[in-house]
Point group: C2
Chain length 432, copies 2
């Protein structure tokens, strides 16, 4: 395997854990047989993860430890350092060691991780809770400057990179599988329509979108629902792509892509929509977001917030926040209410699409794996392993019910034009 590092990968992984180093270490430890201390460390890790039904093996591949006596899949620790780093900091230690190739997973990665999430949740044990790293103030604060840095870290990896494994419309949020056999492409289009139907868009209306990704929803709303859209985003790469696309599709008059923070939104609208931005907002800014919506939304308008969430407030996975999504935090529904309550918004609809995101992420992982050679040419093996862990880990967390996907629709208190039923969201129900 040739590791070609075309550009430095942006994960901020500790350099000494690079794949070359990991390889040599693995070989090195491979010469030493694991001893009783190593096996004791494995059992300690199993306790920390809540005794999952996943086997755990050491670098000799012998005598794998199965906490429940009935295990599927196997986690292989390739050196004692990997064991120790998971003990010290379960989330960051595991993530970094996996990325560096010092931990391997045999079997289906999503399934193995889901088993671990389930046992952790069952045990009520939040990994990393009691470690020094776990006490660090996380997530990081999302000031306007901080937000820009955090968003660029992830979303400015390059459009070429995301194009390798997203759908053709470049939708980087939970799809909606309204029929069992839908492809990712169909499910993403169905999601865009699902959002538009919930907002009850009518031709000629004005829509503000906060956090517009590569512009797929904005363009879809304008093209298929005849609305005018102002779409905000602080990722330069995404806005450049979206603008180019709007111009190419002749939609420049109907859709304006604005490179700016949601806090600077000042115009008014009939519908306010934000799909997959709230995770990056931070609880301390929810009231500011509510203020923006209250200022923007006309009396008979609707707002829709689509976000990863939680059953209850839970610390964000430390590795994910450190390496993949700095400043991110998925809120509980109760925490989300800090957006709406101060401004007397009426919640009119909440839907949980958790299983849809589990499936979306699994599909992204499959496409990412198929594009692995190209990604390797752009970054390196460590980047690939880290992104596999991120995609598989999130799919697993949705499947295991550790995280949720909430679509929340609200209306200003005075709005009596709310729909009497939600049947309009399901126009083709009887024809299926």
């Amino acid at each position: 395997m040739t590791v070609r590092r075309q550009r430095p990968h942006p994960l901020g992984l500790p350099g000494s854990f690079g794949p070359g180093v990991a390889k040599s270490r693995a070989t090195q430890e491979g010469g030493r047989r694991p001893n009783e201390f190593d096996r004791w460390l494995v059992r300690r890790i199993a306790v920390k993860v809540g005794q999952p039904d996943v086997a755990m093996a050491l670098w000799d591949h012998k005598d794998a430890y199965c906490p429940t006596g009935d295990c599927r899949g196997r986690i292989v620790f390739r050196d004692r350092g990997a064991l120790l780093s998971v003990i010290v900091s379960p989330e960051i230690g595991f993530g970094d060691a996996f990325s560096a190739g010092r931990i391997d997973v045999e079997g289906d990665l999503v399934d193995v991780l889901a088993r671990c999430y389930r046992s952790t949740d069952r045990a009520g044990a939040v990994a990393g809770k009691r470690t020094a790293l776990g006490r660090l103030p996380r997530p990081r604060s999302n000031t306007k400057t901080g937000s820009r840095r955090h968003i660029q870290h992830h979303y400015d990896l390059g459009n070429d990179f995301y194009r390798l494994w997203l759908d053709e419309e470049m939708v980087y949020t939970c799809a909606y599988y309204d029929t069992p056999n839908a492809t990712l492409e169909q499910a993403q289009r169905a999601k865009l329509d699902h959002v538009c139907r919930k907002l009850m868009l009518r031709p000629g209306q004005q829509v503000i979108e906060a956090g517009c990704g590569w512009g797929s929803l904005a363009l879809h709303m304008a093209r298929d629902y005849g609305v005018k859209v102002r779409a905000f985003n602080i990722s330069q790469e995404q806005v450049a792509y979206a603008r180019e696309r709007a111009s190419r599709e002749g939609m420049g008059d109907q859709v304006e892509f604005v490179l700016d923070d949601y806090r600077n939104i000042s115009s008014t609208c009939d519908a306010f929509v934000s799909v997959g931005m709230l995770e990056h907002v931070g609880v301390q800014n929810y009231q500011a977001l509510g203020q923006v919506i209250a200022r923007a939304l006309r009396p008979n308008g609707f707002a829709l917030i689509h976000s990863v969430g939680r059953n209850r407030p839970t610390p964000v996975n430390a590795w994910l926040e450190q390496r993949i999504f700095p400043g991110s935090y998925p809120p509980s529904l109760r925490e989300m209410m800090a957006i709406f309550e101060p401004f007397n918004f009426s919640i009119i609809d909440v839907e949980n699409l958790r299983l849809h995101y589990a499936r979306t992420l699994r599909e992204w992982l499959a496409r990412f794996d198929r594009a692995a050679d190209t990604v390797r040419a752009m970054y390196d093996e460590e980047f690939i392993r880290a992104w596999r862990l991120y995609l598989a880990g999130c799919s697993a967390a949705f499947f295991a019910n550790s995280i949720q996907l909430f679509q929340v629709v609200c209306a200003p208190a005075g709005n009596n034009d709310v729909p009497w039923t939600r049947a309009h969201i399901y126009p083709e129900t009887a024809t299926r």
Copy 2:
């Protein structure tokens, strides 16, 4: 008008405000012309209510004061005492004086009250907030004994009374008008089906219902969905009625009506449902209710809570809590989460049926008005006026968006049998 008081009405209204007294006072003040102080009191009241677009007149019926210059409907104060009691305690003062006939409303009662609610909300002024009565600890505590007393106060008024103006199934909760021209009867049946579809009931399942009213939902679930139901209620009159009905309909084997508090539920179930009970539970008991659901619900089950709610925590209307629903409190969605979060429930669906309850209550009011002579024979004129105010006031509050109606569906964290879409709730969409 002959006031026949067949049995003492149960509102606990101050005796001196009885209709006979009110009449004579009205005559008395009628002899005195209102002076500048009386007119100043009217303007103070208008400020307290946030300057509604409703005219306010005194007992001379002259020079009605219109706060906005463009008013519809008219509130008539029949004596200075009525003005003062509204100043001292806007909610209790208004409610008691209206019940006693010392305040009249000309025009559509629901519409006039809705205008007042809207202006109050707009002004951000919560009537009664700063009065001595407003500071009383309300709502009263719902211990098991307290709950029984509070529930009997309202629901044990007598089945004969409720039969006069409820639908034939005796459903005393928000109906669901799934088609614009539905009758109350059709809308109540639609509501029962709406709840059953959300719970995805399957034949043979076991259901626990907490707060079952006169048994209509329990019997409907058993009859139309083939489930077995244990239905709990602490209203003796309601349980007696429900048992008699189950026996008459030959459903005794499938439905058991239990005269007991929800906190004593100990069996397990596939579905847990509670329609219109949470308003009487009290925020301090939400975790206890969540504990009951967590203990009862099997891993692949669903729970549905249907309750009056709020956009944000707001003191309960003092008159309603004192005279109509002791111990009641409609929570915000954030407050409701205290039921679910501690037990790691996943919220999978929230729907707001506010306008449906506005319409349901308006229909009840119309039927109540048609039955007024019979009600008068059972109670007295003051009771009738108080109940008209209650029914119209609640309809107005739903219409004005002061109160909400939330249906919340949740599942235990481990339940992956959640539906992928909500299309099953709308089976007839395309055929309408």
